[in-house]
């Protein structure tokens, strides 16, 4: 945004170095963490429900690549078709790990299910199923999904969650892909349009769990930005006033130049390396207005954090250049490219907060 050029306010947020509260969980049998026996455990995909080039197949492959950024315990099996009397099937007693989209009625109405066969400490096979009526394209990262009727863009997140189970992860109550589906589902992260990303990624808590299961120190350095925050046991969107009990702002929030707007920022770090970076707030009327540089920043804070996800209050002053009759999306992102960051496309998130100039000011 060329019209918005205001003073950059620098703040040092050293408090983010506090250790994050991890809640990732995994099973242990006879003192050994439960994980695939023969690694990489190849997972095949059903070409009836996930044909080549389909969003669902892309979501599955994306989930596999995401997991393999951290650990190579799962592998690409290949496409398959198992047809019996004209009906495509995923078989659960065939000593193979498969993925398929199925009717919700066939998974008891759930969004996804994974059948896991173990010999206690070893996962032998894992069949991942996701509800076929979901949308598997890029999700709108600005809002947490509370309901998932047919067509909801939560399919990629469901597949990544279920693949996480195939990896050995159990449910967590933290800010993570492995959050239980009840009461405000798993969070999205920012994802630049056109990047190929689907707004679903493993978070610091997920990677912490993986590193404990497989016994390594996560060195894949990735910083991410999200528009959701964990409150009590649920996720909320960041369009709230943290100075007033997380009161949800109206949409759009009517403002005058010079007004100060408080809301929430959420950042995460997947590696155990302490990352230091700038985080800025900027406005853009374009829903796809990612990313902007430092010159457009209304506020910039310096962040330094270890592994995990942190949320904190952030504020900006409405610029005089705010055009009338225009609704602006509020973005939070890293204005500078981070040389050590493996995925730059998850460094800016469009928040749920939108502002509009009040008539008469």
């Amino acid at each position: 945004m060329k019209m918005i050029r205001t003073l950059v306010m620098m703040m040092m947020l050293t408090t983010l170095n506090e250790p994050a509260a991890f809640a990732a969980a995994w099973k242990v049998c006879d003192g050994v963490t439960v994980k695939p026996k023969y690694q990489p455990m190849g997972i095949f995909w059903d070409l009836c429900s996930m044909p080549d080039g389909s969003p669902a197949q892309r979501a599955f492959l994306s989930a596999m690549y995401e997991v393999r950024n951290y650990v190579h315990s799962l592998g690409f099996g290949g496409g398959y078709k198992r047809i019996h009397n004209g009906q495509c099937l995923i078989e659960h007693d065939n000593d193979r790990s498969d993925t398929a989209l199925v009717n919700r009625a066939d998974i008891d109405g759930a969004l996804g299910l994974t059948l896991i066969e173990t010999d206690c400490e070893d996962i032998i096979t894992a069949d991942v199923m996701a509800a076929a009526d979901l949308n598997f394209t890029r999700a709108d990262e600005s809002r947490v999904i509370r309901r998932a009727p047919a067509g909801t863009t939560i399919g990629a997140l469901v597949i990544l969650h279920e693949v996480g189970h195939a990896l050995g992860l159990e449910h967590t109550s933290s800010f993570a892909v492995m959050r239980n589906g009840l009461s405000a589902r798993a969070p999205f992260v920012g994802m630049s349009p056109g990047s190929g990303g689907l707004s679903s990624e493993l978070t610091g808590d997920d990677v912490f769990g993986i590193s404990r299961i497989y016994g390594f120190t996560p060195t894949y350095r990735n910083v991410y930005v999200s528009s959701q925050t964990l409150r009590a046991s649920g996720l909320i969107d960041n369009n709230v006033n943290p100075l007033n009990g997380d009161l949800v702002w109206s949409d759009p929030l009517m403002v005058c130049p010079g007004n100060v707007v408080n809301f929430l920022a959420t950042v995460g770090n997947n590696s155990t390396t302490v990352e230091s970076f700038d985080l800025s707030v900027y406005l853009d009327p374009d829903v796809n207005g990612y990313p902007h540089g430092l010159a457009d920043a209304l506020t910039t804070v310096s962040v330094s954090m270890g592994q995990g996800t942190s949320s904190f209050p952030i504020q900006f002053t409405v610029p005089a250049s705010l055009a009338a009759n225009t609704t602006y999306h509020v973005f939070v992102g890293t204005p500078n490219s981070l040389l050590t960051d493996r995925k730059g496309y998850d460094n800016t998130a469009r928040s749920a907060l939108r502002i509009r100039r009040k008539v008469g000011c």
């Binding site: 969980a25 429900s49 019996h84 995923i90 007693d93 009717n103 109405g109 896991i116 199923m129």
Partner: protein, 322 residues
């Protein structure tokens, strides 16, 4: 002119042969579109045997509290007294949770003993099947359980709506399967405490080989082998290896002591210090909140309670053709 004796040619042929082998054995090989991929004359896949005239009710999405309550036949309270494992071709490996002292809190009345046949358990091969989104329950614990009024394959419990009753500082509390205190019922379903007060059930376990005493080694000389010796025709009287015994029901089953010793269904410790100052719901206040929510949503808790997995057999799931 090159010949087969030419080393270069042999190399090329080798590569070609490898390519052919890879192409014919690769998992990426495509089956002909819409052609059955099983053996010729493959029998019909099994279907659950249901009572005559039985009309199946399909499970519907469980996206909202309203949908959850609309698919609830009963909310009952009971004590988990026993756990059994069963296996059959259609039902698959099942963990049978046997509740005693049961009574209905709202909805369809239940008898004093209620058995929930949840998918998961031991297969005849000795492996274990578990289902990712289904919680494990703790033996000797009191539970508040929501049961479906639709048919089902995996579990008769509605979503994850099963809560362990605990006592903290003389106060009754409910704990969700992930270990959070239940604080009420909201527009997102059960509202929960921020912090966990307990671990989920079953994260730490011991294998059955670790808890089952090793039988004494059989002598190879002392006593005669009670198994009949099977001889192949025309093989004379030479000793043949005894056939591998099938997995018997006895080997599939575990004693109550073995199940307890495995820790799979052990009640996790409650962090009373974390729970004591937390706001929480009692069973009564929780059920009252649910009843009020159901009334507001014009939903009736009730309908047909089905305790058998009649929807489909476990071993395959139809996929959706796109």
């Amino acid at each position: 002119m090159s010949t087969l004796g030419d080393p270069m040619n042999r190399h090329q042929l080798g590569i070609l042969a490898c390519c052919i082998i890879l192409a014919t054995t690769s998992g990426c090989r495509r089956a002909p579109v819409d052609a059955d991929t099983g053996p010729p004359g493959e029998p019909q896949r099994e279907e659950p045997v249901v009572p005559a005239g039985y009309a199946k009710i399909p499970p519907a999405p469980l996206d909202s509290p309203t949908q959850m309550l609309a698919q609830t036949a009963t909310i009952f309270r009971g004590k988990l007294k026993e756990i059994h494992f069963t296996y059959d071709l259609c039902g698959g490996p099942r963990t049978q949770y046997v509740f005693g002292d049961s009574s209905s809190l709202v909805g369809v009345a239940v008898g004093p003993n209620v058995t929930l046949k949840v998918l998961g358990g031991q297969t005849p091969e000795g492996t274990w099947v578990s289902v990712s989104e289904l919680p494990q329950l703790a033996l000797d614990s009191e539970y508040v359980v929501f049961l479906r009024n639709t048919d089902w394959t995996y579990s008769p419990i509605v979503s994850n709506l099963v809560f362990r009753q605990e006592t903290v500082d003389g106060r009754q509390v409910l704990v969700d399967p992930d270990g959070h205190l239940v604080t009420g019922w909201s527009e997102d379903g059960p509202s929960l405490s921020a912090a966990r007060v307990s671990e989920p059930v079953g994260l730490q376990r011991r294998s059955m080989r670790a808890v089952r005493p090793v039988p004494p080694a059989q002598s190879t000389t002392d006593s005669p082998n009670p198994r009949a010796v099977v001889s192949a025709a025309g093989a004379g009287n030479a000793d043949q290896p005894a056939p591998s015994p099938a997995v018997t029901a006895a080997e599939l089953s575990f004693t109550s002591e073995e199940i307890r010793a495995s820790g799979m269904f052990a009640r996790p410790a409650l962090a009373e210090a974390a729970a004591v100052n937390q706001q929480s719901a009692t069973t009564q206040s929780f059920v009252s909140a649910i009843t009020a929510a159901a009334e507001r949503a014009n939903v009736r808790i009730g309908g047909r309670l089905t305790l058998e997995p009649y929807w489909k057999c476990w071993n395959s799931t139809p996929t959706v053709k796109r």
